[in-house]
C-alpha cells in the first residue's frame, strides 16, 4: 500500500495564552523612559485599568507559538491541492523584499516626493497587471478578491447612475464563488441565477434569455470554478454589451491563463485578480490578500482613489477623480502584499509566468487523467488549472467526499476543496498548481487510489479519519449551536 508523507510523531500540547502566565512577568523589552513621567491630565472617569491580559516571559510566548505552529500545515509542509485557492509555493525572497527597511517602515501620509519608492512599486505593479490581463487601467486599493468585486459592482452602479439608467439585477452563474452574489447584493443589485449548462459552462442562449434592460450585466468567472474555460465568453459578452450591460470578470483563476488569454479581447469590462493566489503571496491562514481591479478605458474614471500616475520621472497619487466610486481602504490597500506580488512578477518575467500557467494546467490535467478511472469526473472536458470529481462512485460503499478528504490528512496531504462548487454534489476540486513536481503528484495519485480501494474494502478507516492528527474530527454543530467565541 502506498503511503503519503504523513506519519505520527511527537508534538507538544499547549494551553491557551491566559492559562499560562503570572502577573508581573514580562516578555516586552521596555523602552527607555527618557522623558519625565507625566501626570495624567485626563478625567478619572475616562481612565481604565487596562485589559486582563496574561503576563508572560519571552520564552513563554516563543514556546506558545512554536508549539501551535506544530499543529498546522502549510505549503512548506506539503501538498495543498485546495481547488479555487491556488496554493502555490510562496517564495522566501518576497517576504524579505516586503520587509526591506524604508519600504516596510514608510508612513502612508508622507508627501509624494518623500515616498517615490513606494509609489514606483505601485505604479509599476499597475502597469504589470494591465499588461498581464490585457486591460487598460488598474486600481490596487481592494484588500482582497471580495473587495475587488465590491469595487466592480460599485463601478457598475456608478456607470449606470451617470448614464441615468436605473438597473437593479445582475446575472450570476450558479458556479460562482459565494462572494460574487454577496458583493453584488452589498451594492444593491439583485442576483439572478444563471444556470450553467450540462457541460459545466455557460450557454450564450440562457444569457440572451435573461439579459434585459433592468439588468446591469453579468458577473462571471473565467476559467470558471469548475476549472473549465467559458468557451462562449465572446458571444456572452457581446450579448450583454449589446443590451447596454457590463461584464464583470472574477479573475481569481488567472493562474491558468497568464499570457494565454486576453481578458479585454474576451469582452470583460472590469475584473479583479487575487494576488494571494496567482502571484504567490502567502495566504497567512486566511489573509491578508490583495484584489486589484483591472478595467477597460471607458471605466477608468470610476476606479477607486487614489491611483498612482507618473508624470515625467515622478510618481504621484491621483485623488482628483470626480467619477470615482471613492476610497475602499484607509490607505493603499494591503500594500505589503502588493510588494510581494511585484517581487514575484519581477522574478518570473513574462515567459516564466506563461510557463507557470502551462504547467498548472498540465498538472491539473495529469491528475484528472490519472484519477478519472476511480473517481467520478464531474465534466468530461479538458480542464484548466483544476479538475472536479465527485463521490458518486463511492456512494455504494457509503463513503463520502468528506471521508476521503479526512483520510488524505492522515497521509499527509491537505484535502482538496470539497462540496464546492455547489452544482456538483459531493464535489472534490483539485488544484495542484505548477509548483508541485511529477513525483509528488504521482505519490498523491497513488495514495488517492489506495484510499478509494480502502473505501471499498475497509470504509471504517475513512470514516474514522483523521487519526494521526492532534485532534480527530471536530464537532462543528456544537460550535455553531452554542457559540463560544472568546475564552
Amino acid at each position: 500500500m502506498t503511503h503519503g508523507p504523513g506519519i505520527s510523531g511527537l508534538i507538544m500540547e499547549e494551553p491557551l495564552l491566559w492559562e499560562k502566565g503570572k502577573q508581573g512577568r514580562t516578555a516586552f523589552s521596555m523602552p527607555d523612559q527618557d522623558v519625565p513621567e507625566a501626570t495624567v491630565e485626563i478625567d478619572k472617569n475616562l481612565l481604565g485599568d487596562g485589559p486582563d491580559f496574561p503576563d508572560l516571559s519571552e520564552v513563554d510566548v516563543v514556546r506558545h507559538y512554536t508549539r501551535l505552529s506544530g499543529w498546522n500545515f502549510g505549503i512548506d509542509t506539503g501538498m495543498y491541492p485546495l481547488g479555487s485557492c491556488t496554493m502555490k509555493y510562496n517564495p522566501k525572497i518576497n517576504e524579505k523584499m516586503a520587509a526591506t527597511p524604508g519600504i516596510a517602515t514608510s508612513h502612508p501620509l508622507l508627501a509624494d516626493e518623500l515616498s517615490q519608492g513606494t509609489l514606483q512599486i505601485m505604479f509599476e505593479l499597475q502597469t504589470f497587471l494591465a499588461s498581464l490581463t490585457g486591460m487598460d487601467a488598474v486600481s490596487l486599493q481592494p484588500a482582497a478578491g471580495a473587495q475587488g468585486e465590491m469595487a466592480g459592482m460599485l463601478m457598475f452602479a456608478a456607470w449606470f447612475r451617470k448614464k441615468g439608467e436605473k438597473r437593479t439585477k445582475i446575472l450570476i452563474p450558479d458556479t460562482a464563488h459565494g462572494t460574487n452574489p454577496a458583493s453584488a447584493a452589498l451594492c444593491g443589485f439583485k442576483p439572478v441565477l444563471l444556470q450553467s449548462g450540462s457541460d459545466g459552462t455557460l450557454d450564450a442562449k440562457s444569457v440572451a434569455e435573461l439579459m434585459d434592460e433592468e439588468t446591469v450585466g453579468i458577473m462571471l468567472t473565467n476559467p470558471n470554478t469548475l476549472g473549465l474555460f467559458e468557451q462562449s465568453i465572446r458571444e456572452i459578452t457581446a450579448i450583454v454589451h449589446e443590451r447596454g450591460g457590463l461584464v464583470y470578470g472574477d479573475g481569481a483563476n488567472m493562474n491558468a491563463v497568464m499570457g494565454i488569454v486576453d481578458f479585454k479581447r474576451c469582452g470583460i469590462d472590469i475584473m479583479h485578480l487575487n494576488l494571494h493566489k496567482t502571484f504567490s503571496t502567502p495566504h497567512g491562514g486566511g489573509g491578508p490578500g490583495a484584489g486589484p481591479i483591472c478595467v477597460v478605458d471607458e471605466l477608468a474614471d470610476f476606479l477607486p482613489i487614489p491611483r498612482v500616475i507618473k508624470s515625467g520621472d515622478k510618481y504621484h497619487l491621483q485623488y482628483d477623480c470626480p467619477d470615482s466610486i471613492g476610497r475602499l481602504h484607509a490607505f493603499f490597500g494591503n500594500y505589503g502584499v502588493l510588494v510581494k506580488a511585484y517581487s514575484y512578477i519581477l522574478s518570473m518575467g513574462a515567459e516564466n509566468l506563461q510557463k507557470a500557467s502551462q504547467l498548472a494546467v498540465l498538472n491539473a490535467n495529469y491528475i484528472r487523467e490519472s484519477l478519472r478511472d476511480v473517481l467520478h469526473l464531474a465534466y468530461d472536458k479538458p480542464c484548466m488549472h483544476e479538475c472536479v470529481f465527485s463521490d458518486k462512485k463511492q456512494q455504494e460503499y457509503k463513503i463520502t467526499t468528506l471521508d476521503m478528504a479526512k483520510r488524505l490528512i492522515d497521509h499527509g496531504y491537505h484535502p482538496p476543496t470539497i462540496y464546492f462548487p455547489l452544482v456538483v454534489p459531493g464535489a472534490i476540486m483539485i488544484e495542484p498548481t505548477e509548483t508541485e513536481n511529477k513525483d509528488d503528484l504521482d505519490q498523491f495519485i497513488d495514495v488517492f487510489k489506495d484510499i478509494i480501494q480502502e473505501a471499498r474494502e475497509n470504509g471504517e478507516l475513512l470514516r474514522q479519519a483523521p487519526t494521526r492528527t492532534k485532534l480527530r474530527r471536530l464537532d462543528e454543530t456544537q460550535a455553531a449551536r452554542k457559540p463560544c467565541l472568546t475564552g
Partner: protein, 444 residues
C-alpha cells in the same frame, strides 16, 4: 526557473498521459479570439540578487529610509516590534496555510485566532470579536452596515466629523449603493464630537465616534453612550490607536455596542498603510449579525477541546447574497501577529508602554506650547494632539525635514477650516533628543 520544478522529460511524460503533444495543446479549446496576442510586456526576470539591489534603490527613494523620526500618526503608528513576534508568526506553518477549512490540520491557526478574538474582546471591553476585517476603515463601514441590519427599519446613521477623514470616505463608499443617509456630526470647541443635534435626527440606526479621535482628543464615551442610547440608536466606537486602551477606560465598559478599529499598532510594520488589521467586537447578543469569520471552541469526537471556524451560516459560502458581509479572505496572519504582540506586552507591559506614549506626547505638547504654539482643542489627548502656530510653521517644518524629522501633519489637508494647524504624534519610539530638537527649532 527555481519555482517551476518540471524537467523537460517530466513534461513529456505527463503530456503523454494527458494525451497532448505539447504544452500549447492544453489550451487548444480556447477560442482564437480570446487569445493573448504576442508576449506580455513585462521586464526580463531578475535574479534574487538583482531584485534585492532593485529594492535597495527603491527604498533609497523613500524618506523613511533615512528619517530620524516621523511625528505622524493619523491612522498609522510607529511602535517597537519585538524581534520575537515576526520570527514566530512568520513560521511557515502559519504563513503558508490557507483559511482553516480543515480544522484538524489547522489547530495552530484556529487556537491562534481564538486567542486573538479573546484578547481583542478583553482590550475593548466587549463580549465577542471576529477574526478580523480588512482594516479599521472597512471595519467601521461594516459596523454601520451591521447596525443597519440590526435596526432593520431605520436608514440613517450619524458619524462624527472627528473620525479619520479616510475612514469616513470608506464609509461613504460602502454605503453609497444603499438607501442610507449618512449625517456627519460637528466638532465642538474642545475637539470632541458635538452630539447636541442628535435629538433632531429621525430614523437613526447608529452613531459612530472615534476615540481618541482624529485630533487625538479622547471622547467622553460614557456621556455619549447615554445620549446615543437615549436616541435609541446603537453606539459604535472606532479607533486608530489601540495602545490608548492601556490607559483609557475601554469602549465596552463605556457603553458601546460595537467597537472596531485598526490594529496595526500591535506588531505590524507601517508599510505604507497595509496590511493592517481591522479589529471588530460587539456584544454577544449581536454575534449572529457580525460580519466576517469567527473561530469558536468545540470538542472533537473524543471530547478533546479544539477550535473551528463557526457561525458560517452568516457567510457567503452558505448564504451567498444574504451573507452578513462579502468578506472572505481577511487579515489572517495579522491576527496572530496582534495576539502575539498583546501577549508579549501583557497587562503590565501594555499599561507601561501606553503611559510612555502619553509621557512623550505630553513632553512635546508642553514643550511646544511653551515655545509659543497653541492647542487647537482643549480636550484631553493620548499620543496625538493638534497645535496651531501664529507664525508660518512651514519654513520651520522644512528645516526639520532637512534634519530628518517630519513635524506633524498639515490639518488643512483634511479640514479646510483648520488653517495653520498641525496634527502631531509621539510614540515610545521617538527619542527625547528628537523632541528637544523640534522644540528648539520652533522656539528659535
Amino acid at each position: 526557473m527555481r519555482y517551476l520544478p518540471h524537467t523537460e522529460k517530466e513534461i513529456e511524460a505527463m503530456l503523454a498521459v494527458t494525451g497532448h503533444g505539447q504544452l500549447e495543446e492544453l489550451f487548444a479549446h480556447i477560442p482564437e479570439d480570446c487569445r493573448y496576442q504576442g508576449d506580455m510586456k513585462l521586464p526580463e526576470p531578475l535574479s534574487e540578487w538583482a531584485l534585492s539591489d532593485h529594492f535597495q534603490s527603491l527604498a533609497a527613494n523613500n524618506y523613511s529610509t533615512s528619517a530620524k523620526a516621523v511625528l505622524l500618526g493619523a491612522g498609522s503608528y510607529s511602535h517597537y516590534i519585538p524581534e520575537m513576534v515576526p520570527s514566530l508568526i512568520q513560521r511557515s506553518e502559519f504563513l503558508t496555510a490557507y483559511t482553516p477549512y480543515q480544522p484538524e490540520m489547522a489547530q495552530g491557526t484556529l487556537q491562534g485566532i481564538f486567542e486573538y478574538q479573546t484578547l481583542t474582546a478583553r482590550l475593548l471591553g466587549m463580549e465577542v470579536a471576529n477574526a478580523s476585517m480588512y482594516d479599521g476603515a472597512s471595519a467601521l463601514a461594516e459596523a454601520l452596515l451591521m447596525a443597519l441590519r440590526i435596526a432593520h427599519k431605520k436608514h440613517t446613521v450619524a458619524i462624527s466629523s472627528a473620525i479619520h477623514p479616510y475612514y469616513r470616505e470608506v464609509v461613504h463608499t460602502y454605503l453609497q449603493a444603499g438607501i442610507f443617509n449618512i449625517i456627519e456630526l460637528p466638532v465642538a470647541e474642545n475637539g470632541r464630537t458635538d452630539l447636541a443635534g442628535l435629538k433632531e435626527i429621525d430614523d437613526l440606526a447608529a452613531v459612530a465616534l472615534q476615540s481618541p479621535n482624529f485630533f487625538g482628543v479622547i471622547e467622553d464615551l460614557e456621556t455619549a453612550s447615554r445620549e446615543i442610547h437615549a436616541a435609541e440608536a446603537l453606539f459604535i466606537t472606532c479607533f486608530t490607536e489601540p495602545f490608548a486602551y492601556g490607559l483609557l477606560r475601554s469602549p465596552g465598559i463605556s457603553g458601546a455596542d460595537i467597537v472596531c478599529g485598526e490594529g496595526q499598532s500591535f506588531g505590524m510594520p507601517q508599510s505604507s498603510g497595509g496590511p493592517g488589521l481591522g479589529m471588530f467586537a460587539c456584544l454577544k447578543k449581536h454575534q449572529r449579525n457580525i460580519p466576517g469569520r469567527v473561530a469558536g471552541e468545540t470538542v472533537d469526537i473524543e471530547g478533546k477541546r479544539g477550535y473551528v471556524l463557526t457561525l458560517s451560516t452568516r457567510e457567503q459560502h452558505i448564504r451567498r447574497e444574504k451573507a452578513t458581509s462579502n468578506i472572505c479572505s481577511n487579515q489572517g496572519i495579522c491576527t496572530l501577529t496582534a495576539a502575539a504582540y498583546m501577549a508579549s506586552l501583557g497587562a503590565t507591559g501594555l499599561r507601561r508602554v501606553a503611559k510612555l506614549n502619553y509621557d512623550k506626547a505630553a513632553y512635546l505638547k508642553n514643550g511646544l506650547v511653551q515655545a509659543g504654539a497653541k492647542l487647537l482643542f482643549s480636550g484631553p489627548t493620548f499620543n496625538e494632539f493638534v497645535l496651531t502656530f501664529a507664525d508660518d510653521f512651514k519654513p520651520v517644518r522644512q528645516r526639520l525635514l532637512d534634519k530628518g524629522i517630519i513635524a506633524g501633519l498639515e490639518l488643512s489637508r483634511f479640514y479646510k477650516e483648520y488653517e495653520k494647524a498641525y496634527l502631531f504624534c509621539v510614540t515610545e519610539t521617538v527619542a527625547r533628543t528628537v523632541l528637544d530638537e523640534v522644540i528648539e527649532e520652533v522656539r528659535s
